[in-house]
Symmetry: C2
Subunit: 678 residues, 2 copies
């Protein structure tokens, strides 16, 4: 029987109306339900999806403008040629964006996109068989083997008639090439790359399969990089004994901004209770005039949405927020979910608080410790819904007043599901809000808080002093899977913590600690007074004597011996070098000295490469900094650095024999910091 | 105000009717829905659940009688004392079984159970706050600190009145202790361990949370350990040229059983097609009398549920199954989902098969290779449902005729979702059915098939010859996560594969290969003729010359030079040593010789410890086998072995200086195998 291509192919008619009446992507949309959490049984396996946190139970974290690369094993049975796309959308949007995925090797595929907006995203993977590419591949193999391919050609032409046109251009290509083959019998018409591409977009995808959707939270850049200055606002007056005000704080801004800080973080600013008010040094009873702890929140002047009258008014606060902006500073507020016995909620919502069998208030406690100036709302009370909403509204109130960063006090002692809900709720209204988890607790809980939604987290850095423990800890935080959800904020000290190694007051140690914090972590912070080398402890404890949690302090902010110039130089280096505005990019260099840690950080495009070495003891040492596995961008390629530029002194030294022999004298400066020159 | 304990506690009445009217576990059942795949937002995090495959997308595999230990990070916010239980059930059952989980350290918990039946299970974790234990802990701390605890005692007694009684004994304990405290005011009545235990079972669990449910497949022991003998049934006649029958196979059983094999695995036994039948050595055309390939399934005599007439009848087959049983052998059938052009399905179900534009049959192909004696049913055809059911019914037919092991030919070229469905379907009817995936393909596909449900898998062992690649491959298969879903079946050769290293026919190499397979893997197989050192290749290819896929072979099964005694000794050692009836328990020992691999395997209770060394080259060597990190059970404890007993010769040698210096002469025996003596 002689075959007429026309007889076979012409029985199917190109239905060009499909082009106009139905967009291909719309049709695909119907088949695509990546919102489903259960990966249904399908022809395709999507495995080992990276990044993902707990298989999609929690969101991966990234920042705006950073390419988001997704890798996955994608396969199905058989030898057919596959195609895959990466899908993504803002959770609140309905339409998926798409980017092609490419086969890397060994059934591992990758694709990427750049999120341009902050917000909560979903991403997923679609895969299908590229039937036409499979046909072309087989056809070419048979042709090369000298086999009769006339029927094969008809099969290929038949596939063309099944196209569902996504664009008029593709439709024209497909119809034209099919026509050419039918008229001339020339099978090369079926093998052009233009046709392959048109068909890759236009053929039906009957076995289209979709992975489940994974969550991604995209934050603004401040989520990964920022220098924080913690300030107790009532201590900012210049006159000893006078309660500081927001106006005093405004006067302090030039000093803080000059040091190069990005975030001005305030301990709680709310009215302080009178009942059971704590005295100086955490005394059980306050003396007359003692200001009390700002963590005993609430008085007749109001609760979490009010301002302590002695600090000023809400208008003063708004002025402060505005003044910060002019200094490139941003306010971070400390939110402690706890109430003084005088908090308005105790009378407005008595059912939010537990009473004891004798009718007395159930104070906060951590047996045998008691906190009699504080009562905790009961998250499990019968009226928990209204309590949760009220706490959410407190955050919203401060957002409405210009606050976009919240440091949450002790989140680990409250229900995790509350935080998951409230962070999601607030960020769905304003994705620029940043939440820092102030949890110093067991490692799994700290990681759990980071997973459920906290943007940043406190860390154990404050107590890590030896080289091996610093490097092991940072390798943990920057390794998999922590790198994708845990963003450290390194504090050198806090109002509650004066670590033993600072109690000697040695300038080199203060400098070493702040250099470690500022250079190893994208986000770090100091607590006011650190720059003045304050170091008086309660004897035998890692706590400040005369803690300003319980009294007003007045300081000479230019006290001789301060290390403000040093901190200023560090912050200047951070701002000038994108490599220092991240944490995940950290890699330690092998320095054969247990008292010197060496590291390298590179920007994603490797155009900015910073290497450094920080002393962990006071002794001066000569050491070798190996640079032979570092490649930095320059002269149109990537190469080993030719020289190092000292970021503090401007001095240049050549890189020879794959590294540099350096001299580190902590007495002068415990850190050496260089930019690599190509 | 003076407090009367009676006033406070007596307002709540012990409702003993709860004990009778409502079982506690039933109440809990209502709150427990671990069948849900999505872990809902709850107070608890369940993280890093081990074992689990792809976060529960696929089942973990275990065998009957093996303790199943589950580990997980379990935590919630706060410092309260938690409790957790491991839940499990056969998927088809409704009631969960429970076992307590214990805190190991660092928020990691573990629990276990021993599955007694084969089948598909689900397991999950429940956690809740043990409020009474938390109260007791705080109470004791406060008491130790000398605080006034009278109100605390009342709070504790109050908790007792909320108990929901699970048993009369617990109810009695709780009522008695409460009574005692109320009558005497003696708070020690509230602190007994009997009361703690009763309350741990009886208090409400308002914050009870459940992980999602993870699947587990429990197989019979043969799934992890078995020696397979692959037999081509038509080659079993003793008369050259006569087609072998099942009767001939029955006569061969004593020989196979005497070698110590557990599984007798047959190439396909179905009628062979005539159309395009292949001739000897895969010739395109058969000569008259050529028997054709048993993989070209189907003729006028029937299809996949029929027996090739020359082999015998279904009754003969049943006799064979019965005869195998008397020899402690079990039949494994080879199932190839492909049809000769003469298969009855082609006329009964023409819509299951693709036709080409010229009306001709679409033969199987892997361009440019063509398989013109085979057509593949189209799993994506419009009538796919009936095709899938028919294939399932083929398997059921053989199950009904006594087959419990199927070796599936080339499963990777069929849709993965078909296998996931059909294996699940068959095993839900008979959980003792074992499926072996004969897929030699890309690694991700082989692992994907194992994940979706294949009980065992072929491997790359057949081609792995060097020490580093053997050890790396086995470390991969026995490491995480493969250890939990991939069960290797090591074949030394197959009818399709005569690897280059066997083509020299050297006895030491044949022995080395079978020793590696039999000792390193719990399941292994040889293809008949291997014991006779058959090694004639098609020149330049890893294939047998005169392959019995295309002709009938007659062999002298006692041919001089055969290594049957050697194989027999290996299988005897396997049967006598539980340590050798597993794969996951393999650990390599450091032998400083690139041609000797050393290993240890232990039974779970360490009562049986086997160490061995296998030569990978023909040279004799002296070497050191380190044993200093092995502890074997004996004399009521665990200790370094005192001596080794050679499992082949019975000879004993002492262990000195933490190891043994050994002499390995491959010419005599390429493997040394010892049982450790305590």
């Amino acid at each position: 029987m002689e075959l007429s291509p026309h007889r076979v192919v012409a029985t199917r008619i190109f239905d060009l109306t499909r082009c106009a009446s139905m967009s291909f992507s719309a049709q695909r949309q119907i088949q695509t339900r990546p919102g489903q959490q259960n990966q249904s049984v399908s022809a395709f396996h999507f495995e080992d999806v990276y990044p993902s946190v707990d298989a999609g139970r929690f969101a991966v974290k990234r920042v705006v403008g950073e390419p988001f690369e997704v890798w996955a094993d994608i396969f199905r049975g058989g030898h057919d040629i596959l195609a895959a796309e990466l899908l993504w959308r803002l959770e609140r949007d309905n339409n998926w964006n798409r980017a092609p995925m490419r086969l890397h090797e060994n059934d591992r595929w990758h694709g990427s996109f750049v999120p341009t907006d902050a917000g909560r995203y979903l991403y997923a993977i679609e895969a299908w068989t590229d039937e036409f590419a499979t046909w072309q591949h087989g056809f070419e193999l048979k042709q090369a083997a000298g086999q009769d391919v006339s029927v094969d050609a008809l099969e290929g032409a038949g596939l063309l008639t099944h196209a569902v046109f996504g664009s008029k251009k593709d439709a024209a290509t497909i119809v034209r090439q099919c026509d050419k083959y039918l008229e001339t019998g020339d099978t090369t018409a079926l093998l052009t790359s233009e046709l392959s591409e048109a068909m890759s977009r236009s053929q039906p995808r009957p076995d289209l399969a979709c992975s489940h959707a994974y969550p991604l939270v995209v934050d603004r850049q401040r989520a990964v990089a920022g220098a924080w200055y913690e300030m107790v606002p009532r201590s900012q007056s210049r006159e000893p004994g006078r309660h500081g005000t927001f106006r005093d704080c405004i006067e302090r801004l030039p000093d803080v901004a000059a040091m190069g800080f990005d975030v001005l973080y305030f301990t709680p600013i709310h009215p302080i209770g009178m009942t059971n008010r704590k005295g100086r040094n955490n005394a059980l009873r306050a003396n007359p005039g003692d200001p009390g702890s700002p963590y005993a929140i609430g008085s007749s002047a109001g609760g979490h949405d009010a301002i302590h009258p002695e600090l000023g008014t809400i208008d003063d606060f708004r002025d402060l927020v505005a003044a910060c902006k002019t200094h490139d500073l941003e306010i971070a507020l400390d939110i402690a979910v706890q109430c003084s016995p005088d908090h308005p909620w105790l009378t407005q919502h008595p059912n939010w608080f537990k009473r004891r069998p004798d009718g007395s208030m159930k104070f906060a406690e951590n047996p045998p410790k008691k906190y009699e100036d504080i009562v905790n709302p009961d998250f499990g009370c019968d009226d928990a819904g209204s309590l949760w909403n009220a706490l959410r509204d407190v955050l919203l109130f401060w957002v409405q007043n210009g606050v976009r960063i919240f440091r949450i006090d002790n989140p680990h002692t409250k229900p995790f599901q509350f935080w998951e809900w409230v962070i999601h709720d607030i960020q769905s209204r304003d994705p620029n809000v940043i939440f820092l988890a102030e949890a110093f607790t067991r490692p799994k809980l700290m990681k759990g808080l980071a997973k459920l939604g906290f943007t940043q987290s406190y860390t154990y850095f404050t107590w890590r002093t030896r080289k091996w423990e610093i490097e092991a800890y940072l390798n943990e935080l920057t390794g998999y899977p922590e790198r994708d959800y845990y963003r450290p904020n390194f504090f050198v000290s806090t109002p509650d913590i004066l670590p033993y190694h600072l109690q000697g007051g040695e300038p080199w140690m203060f400098k070493s600690r702040v250099a470690l914090a500022a250079l190893l972590s994208g986000t770090y912070g100091i607590y006011n007074g650190f720059e003045l080398l304050e170091h008086q402890p309660i004897p035998g404890r890692e706590e400040y004597l005369d803690s300003e949690k319980y009294e007003i302090r007045t300081r000479d902010w230019s006290k001789p011996g301060n290390i403000k110039p040093y901190i200023t130089a560090l912050n200047r280096a951070r701002r000038a070098n994108p490599a220092l505005q991240q944490t995940r990019n950290l890699r330690f260099l092998r320095v054969d000295n247990d008292n010197i840690t060496g590291f390298v950080k590179q920007s994603a495009d490797r155009s900015n490469t910073v290497v450094g070495a920080i002393a962990l003891s006071r002794d001066a040492h000569e050491f070798w900094l190996p640079l032979n596995d570092i490649e930095t961008a320059g002269n149109g390629g990537f190469r080993e650095p030719a020289a190092l530029e000292n970021l503090m002194t401007g001095e240049r030294i050549p890189v020879e024999w794959g590294g540099a022999r350096l001299w580190l004298d902590p007495g002068r400066d415990p850190a050496l910091l260089f930019r690599c020159l190509a």
